[in-house]
């Protein structure tokens, strides 16, 4: 068999897919929940980065994984809350506010890194503890499946669990009902005394929570250190993944899995003699194509004529 195919149909590849998927799935859930509440959150990049940083920082100083976890989550949720404050209270445009916070997170983490390490260079990094990997009892011994599913970082399982948590929050709790009501008709929600801004803030903070887990996984699972701009655009790809998944829990999961496959594939064929730049380009190209197909499908669902399609675009877009 062709060595490339062989490696792709290997359990290692499937394992890698799940590994690569984790830091996309978590922020994608974060984007999805804010979308349901009717806001667009493109600050996941900053949220992940700042959570990744504080997790590492606290692990370096306390040596406690638990405290690192709390610190990372607190930092991510706090950044999301700041975005919420500026957007909801001070009426800043949420996209521009998020751009500012992404900038802030990137600058602030390096600034702090310098204060701590005293190294002005851009390559400095901070060593960290890592969250443990878990071998699932029983399943680990099943051939193939065990090799793929068992032995991941604990945060990977948490990520999958979060899909369920997302589902329960959105569809089985009063908060979820309110989030959906606020997203569908904020005036309606306000008219029965629901504080729309507060619900939107909760949704943002939940997105901060999901994003923070993703960030912690990056610096304390995927690798074991913090380095500048280590999110490398994952917070943005998360936007594509949740869009592709229709903001549904399962949809977002499957979309993230797809991005995981593409990313893992890019890493795998990098070993062959193909220019690495072109391979690294693939996931983004696929996302763009997926976005195109997705938009086409949304349009096609409505069998109407050209002019009406345009109108639909007019009204649906933006």
């Amino acid at each position: 068999m062709n060595p490339l195919l062989k490696s792709i149909f290997s359990t290692e590849f499937a394992f890698a897919v799940i590994r690569v998927m984790t830091p996309l799935l978590l922020p994608a859930l974060g984007v999805a929940i804010t979308n349901l509440a009717g806001s667009v959150n493109i600050a996941l990049e900053g949220i992940m980065l700042i959570a990744a940083f504080f997790g590492v920082l606290v692990s370096a100083f306390t040596g406690s994984l638990f405290l690192s976890l709390l610190a990372g989550i607190a930092a991510g949720v706090a950044l999301a809350a700041i975005l919420g404050y500026f957007h909801l209270k001070l009426k800043a445009d949420i996209i521009l506010g998020a751009i500012a916070l992404n900038l802030f997170a990137a600058g602030f983490t390096i600034f702090m890194l310098f204060l701590i390490t005293g190294d002005k260079g851009s390559t400095s990094s901070l060593k960290s503890l890592v969250f443990p990997s878990v071998h699932i009892p029983l399943i680990r011994h099943i051939p193939v499946l065990g090799d793929i599913v068992s032995g991941h970082n604990v945060l990977t399982y948490v990520a999958v669990l979060m899909v369920l948590v997302f589902y329960i929050i959105v569809y089985k709790t009063p908060l979820g009902l309110r989030i959906r009501a606020v997203g569908q008709n904020p005036d309606a929600a306000a008219s029965v005394g629901i504080k729309v801004d507060r619900i939107k803030l909760y949704a943002l903070m939940l997105s901060g929570f999901f994003g923070a887990l993703g960030g912690l996984y990056l610096s304390m699972g995927y690798v074991s250190w913090f380095s500048r701009d280590m999110t490398a655009g994952r917070g943005f790809i998360a936007i594509a993944a949740s869009t592709l998944g229709g903001n549904l829990p399962m949809g977002t999961f499957l979309a993230s899995l797809l991005f995981g496959v593409v990313n893992a594939f890019a890493i795998y064929i990098a070993s062959l003699n193909v220019p690495s730049e072109l391979i690294q380009m693939i996931p983004y190209l696929v996302t763009l194509v997926a976005l195109t197909i997705f938009s086409l499908r949304t349009l096609r669902k409505r069998p109407a004529k050209k002019e009406e399609k345009k109108l639909h675009v007019d009204e649906a877009a933006l």
């Binding site: 009426k91 506010g97 900038l103 990137a106 600034f111 204060l115 983004y284 195109t292 938009s295 009204e315």
Partner: protein
């Protein structure tokens, strides 16, 4: 006085936001620097003290300015375009490829290279433009993806096909002299691209506010349904705004290659596109204000690098200040209570005048 405040409220708020940003930087320097007064001096006065540093401010402002007006054109059409970065990168790469592989007199070589950059940028903007206009695909996601694609594609082009292996690091072949923009102040890197950038920004102002197409863009951005109702072809406008935006950003990139480095030397994306978003926000999408906003931003940046070099404050401080300024400027309600109080006072006063008159 109060009338004046009400009338120029947004401008005043912008200035206050900038002032707060500057105050934050002073605070940060006092917090972390062992020699705060020296650091402050480096940061604020540093950029102005030498000819070459002052020149740095202008050099850096040029591409930011062009990306800023590029973003502003899209924002005015209410298109959330964050694709200037990608357009700039890929345009510079392709136009560099063109410039190093052709030979012709400068009078042709310079305009053709710029034209190619503009065309590539326009093509780059066309993709999200048409996806948005025809399919309703989010331009935010599309331009983001286009940024990454531009980066890797540009890098591939330069590294695999136009790389100068004799240079010690990853750069393209040097541009022939016929494809360079001259520098006009000895001892600095002030090049004609900077002057051109200002001229282009002014032209974009004229375009947006004094031409029919500019009017179409602004109306479409202000209320798309209204524009369509009035007979404006909004599909065309959406695509056109992205195309123009891409072209402007593309020109911004090649100016820097042609005027400063003489080679394509960006192994990482330079970030001017994101800076463009920042200055578009600070300049409130107005090309003339964007000229000043980009000078201000690069002044901060140069100050940041001076203090980074000469003292113990990392240059990333500037990112923190920038984010504070942007947050405050975009915060519509920031200072609104103040404004409200003034408005109420004004209304009451007019009421009194009214009553005493009747």
């Amino acid at each position: 006085m109060e009338k004046f405040i009400l009338k120029n409220f947004t401008l005043i708020r912008t200035i206050i936001a900038i002032a707060i940003g500057v105050a934050v930087s002073v605070l940060l320097i006092y917090l972390i620097s062992a020699t705060p007064s020296g650091s402050l001096k480096y940061f604020f006065v540093g950029p102005l003290l030498s000819k070459s540093r002052l020149s740095n401010v202008f050099e850096m402002a040029a591409p930011i300015m062009l990306c800023g007006v590029a973003i502003a054109v899209a924002f005015q059409a209410e298109q959330f375009n964050i694709g200037a970065e990608g357009a700039l990168y890929i345009s510079a790469a392709v136009a560099t490829a063109f410039a190093v592989s052709t030979h012709m007199p400068a009078i042709l070589h310079i305009p053709l290279t710029i034209l190619i950059a503009a065309c590539v940028g326009a093509a780059w903007g066309f993709v999200p433009g048409i996806l948005k206009a025809k399919l309703g695909a989010s331009e935010l996601v599309a331009t983001l993806m286009m940024n990454y694609i531009a980066y890797f594609l540009g890098l591939y082009l330069i590294n695999y096909h136009f790389r100068d292996k004799s240079a010690g690091y990853l750069v393209s072949y040097a541009l022939p002299e016929t494809a360079r923009l001259g520098q006009f102040i000895p001892g600095t890197r002030m090049h004609w691209g900077i002057i051109l950038a200002v001229i282009i920004a002014v032209l974009v102002y004229f375009f947006l506010y004094h031409t029919t197409t500019g009017y179409e863009i602004r109306m479409t951005g202000s209320n798309r349904k209204f524009a369509r109702f009035g007979g404006i072809n909004i599909i065309k406008v959406v695509i056109l705004s992205q195309v123009i935006s891409g072209a402007l950003a593309g020109v911004g990139g090649i100016f820097e290659v042609m005027g400063i480095h003489g080679r394509f030397n960006w192994q990482t994306s330079p970030g001017y596109g994101w800076d463009g978003v920042i200055v578009a926000i600070i300049g409130r999408n107005h090309p003339i204000l964007i000229i000043f906003a980009s000078l201000f931003l690069s002044y901060l940046r140069v100050g940041g690098s001076v203090v980074n070099l000469m003292a113990d404050v990392p240059t990333e401080m500037v990112s923190v200040i920038q984010s504070v300024i942007i947050l405050l400027i975009t915060a519509e309600a920031f200072l609104s209570r103040w404004k409200y109080r003034i408005t109420v006072r004004e209304a009451e006063r007019e009421e009194k005048i009214h009553e005493s008159a009747s």
